[in-house]
């Protein structure tokens, strides 16, 4: 029986008196999209930070394909194939679109202690980077400096950079934040394709996207998992309505 890509058990983190993540357990299976929804401040971003390794948990464990990575530093998790995007685009502002992806390609190839050959004109890095940019639809904008990109383009670039790491599990923190309907549709299409290759933990507020894509949904309220179930069950659940959807209706 193959290992589950991502298993989180009892993850807990407090910031002072605030329990941001409260004994969260869930898993991400291969070829599925597991969505996480919940009201603002529910601890969703903190959860992603814990899983990706940017924050150290107070308790609990993270396992990646059966291997305990709870103590593994964040860069090593990224190299293993556990990759993430950020809710607020986190890019290298003084570099171009393709150069941002090239950095990820370079990291994946593990060849960064090279001091002589120029980076910017490196054909191998560039070609691979352009391939990933093509997947998200940014290939035409490859030479544009990030500082000059639109919001939507930056979200796309976030995805391209994550893809360049050859991920086995993707943690996506509100990839559709601030996107218009056209861009959102593009992202939904892309995620549907990606679902065939890897496991995705999707944090989102866009309910259309969530219910269109998710195989399973976990509802996070005040840092704790209220329920984990299929979209239909979650839609029907009165507890969920009350905690979350009810406020929107």
């Amino acid at each position: 029986m193959p290992e589950t890509p991502l298993v989180i058990s009892g993850l807990t983190k407090s910031f002072g008196a605030l329990k941001a993540v409260d004994n969260v357990s869930l898993d991400v299976r291969d070829r599925e999209i597991h969505a996480i929804i919940g009201p603002n401040g529910a601890g969703k971003s903190s959860l992603v930070n814990l899983i990706s390794g940017l924050i150290v948990p107070d308790a609990g464990a993270v396992a990646f394909f059966g291997r305990d990575i709870t103590r593994l530093p964040a860069p090593d998790r990224a190299r293993l194939g556990l990759n993430r995007t950020f809710q607020i685009s986190n890019l290298i502002a003084n570099r171009s679109v393709v150069e941002n992806v090239m950095l990820a390609v370079q990291s994946h190839a593990g060849s960064s202690f090279r001091f002589i050959r120029p980076f910017a004109t490196d054909k191998r890095l560039r070609e691979t980077a352009l391939h990933h940019l093509g997947r998200v639809g940014l290939a035409e904008r490859s030479g544009v400096v990030v500082a000059a990109l639109s919001h939507g383009e930056r979200r796309q670039l976030e995805l391209a950079v994550a893809l360049a790491m050859a991920p086995k599990v993707l943690l996506l923190d509100e990839p559709m934040a601030g996107l218009g309907p056209e861009d959102s549709a593009q992202v939904i299409e892309l995620l549907a394709t990606l679902r065939e290759e890897l496991g995705i933990l999707l944090i989102e507020h866009d309910m259309d996207a969530v219910f269109a894509l998710a195989d399973r949904i976990s509802v996070l309220v005040y840092g704790a998992v209220l329920t984990t179930d299929t979209p239909d069950e979650v839609r029907r659940s009165p507890a969920v309505r009350e905690a979350y959807l009810g406020e929107e209706a």
Binding site: S52, L54, P73, A74, P75, D76, A78, R79, N83, R84, F86, N90, L91, I92, A93, N94, R95, E99, M102, L103, A104, Q106, S107, H108, S111, S112, F113, R114, F115, I116, R117, P118, F119, A120, D122, V145, A147, A148, V161, A164, M165
Partner: protein, 357 residues
């Protein structure tokens, strides 16, 4: 060739001007100005070294004089022992002195690497204001040690009775020594351009711009920063070695925080993270010292005012000024448009730094 010109016209300009100035002085018999040009070249090398850590790496080291001074001691001590006929280390392994410049430069470089490894291991686990203070503190530590340790002169320093030779070539001539230092400068410029343009340089730049992003794509910041810090130190140390041979004197004052300040001034004055920056910065600093110094003993007062003005009002230093001038003169691609977005993105502190505690 066009590309080379586009990106590096300022560097070529700086190098040509420096060589031109020295040659014209040589023709006119001006020994003082040749020596001045040599000083510019050497300080430029030190600045290029610092620029790698500070400009490109974003590591504000206020202790680089430690490497400059240590490099000087390494080279000076080597020559001192050669002259005296004594050994640096006696015992199972005897280390004798050497009158060969290359040996001195290598010794300086290695000393710089070792010192930077030691200091870096402690200080690179911190960032921001901690890093500035810690590098300053460690440099002071070495400075006080050099003052109190009497074997090589202590506070009085160590006079060198002869300049090292280069593979048998006598370097006592002003122009000869300038040429040697100039060639080292050209080497430093090339190395700096290659390193900062390489894959390693791209990582370093990324770490400076957005460390969180770099971590998220699998880079461990510490190893790259330490490497850059060590390379930077080695280069500055080599400059320090050349410096003591220019002066004929090894002094602990080359390790003082004043010297660290000079190096930072050179880098910022010339333009942070620009390859030709330190050459312009060194030239400007020496020029101000010489010209203002002729007018008044209080020239440092005016230097302070000029620097303050530059920090507050003229971003990008002299390199930036040249960019704008070239653009204004309509020299097209020859003037890299000052990317105001980039500059502003760089100059403003990252949001995370507000929480620096």
């Amino acid at each position: 060739m066009r590309d080379l010109l586009d990106d590096h016209w300022q560097t070529l300009l700086a190098l040509v001007l420096l060589a031109g100035f020295a040659l014209s002085e040589a023709a006119g018999g001006g020994s003082f100005y040749i020596s001045l040009s040599t000083r510019v070249a050497i300080l430029a090398i030190a600045g290029i070294g610092l620029n790698i850590a500070l400009g490109y790496g974003g590591m504000v080291s206020f202790g680089h004089a430690a490497f400059f001074g240590l490099g000087g001691y390494a080279a000076g001590v080597a020559v001192h022992h050669a002259f005296e006929g004594s050994n640096f280390l006696d015992g199972p392994i005897a280390v004798s002195g050497s009158g060969e410049l290359l040996t001195g430069l290598v010794a300086a470089g290695v000393t710089g690497l070792a010192a930077a490894l030691f200091i870096g291991v402690f200080s690179l686990r911190t960032s921001g204001i901690y890093f500035i203070m810690i590098t300053l503190a460690f440099a002071q530590m070495l400075y006080y040690f050099a003052i109190s340790f009497p074997t090589y002169g202590g506070e009085d320093g160590l006079p060198l009775y002869s300049r090292a030779t280069l593979l048998g070539l006598d370097l006592s001539g002003d122009m000869t020594y300038f040429t040697v230092c100039y060639l080292v400068l050209v080497t430093a410029v090339i190395l700096s351009a290659l390193i900062t343009g390489s894959r390693f340089g791209a990582v370093l730049n990324g770490l400076r711009e957005n460390e969180t992003r770099m971590i998220a794509i699998g880079f461990h910041p510490f190893r790259y920063r330490l490497t850059a810090f060590m390379v930077s130190a080695a280069m500055t140390a080599v400059a320090g070695a050349l410096y003591v041979h220019l002066d004929g004197f090894v002094s602990p004052s080359n390790m003082s925080w004043h010297r660290s300040g000079d190096l930072i001034v050179i880098v910022i004055l010339g333009g942070v993270a620009r390859t030709p920056g330190p050459i312009f910065g060194a030239a400007a600093l020496i020029a101000m010292e010489t010209v203002l110094g002729d007018f008044t003993e209080r020239w440092q007062f005016f230097l302070g005012l000029v620097l303050l003005g530059i920090v507050l009002f003229a971003r990008g230093g002299l390199s930036g000024l040249l960019d704008r001038a070239a653009a204004a003169l309509g020299l097209g691609p020859l003037g890299k448009q000052p990317d105001s977005e980039k500059d502003r993105a760089r100059d403003r502190r990252q949001p995370g730094e507000v929480r620096d505690a």
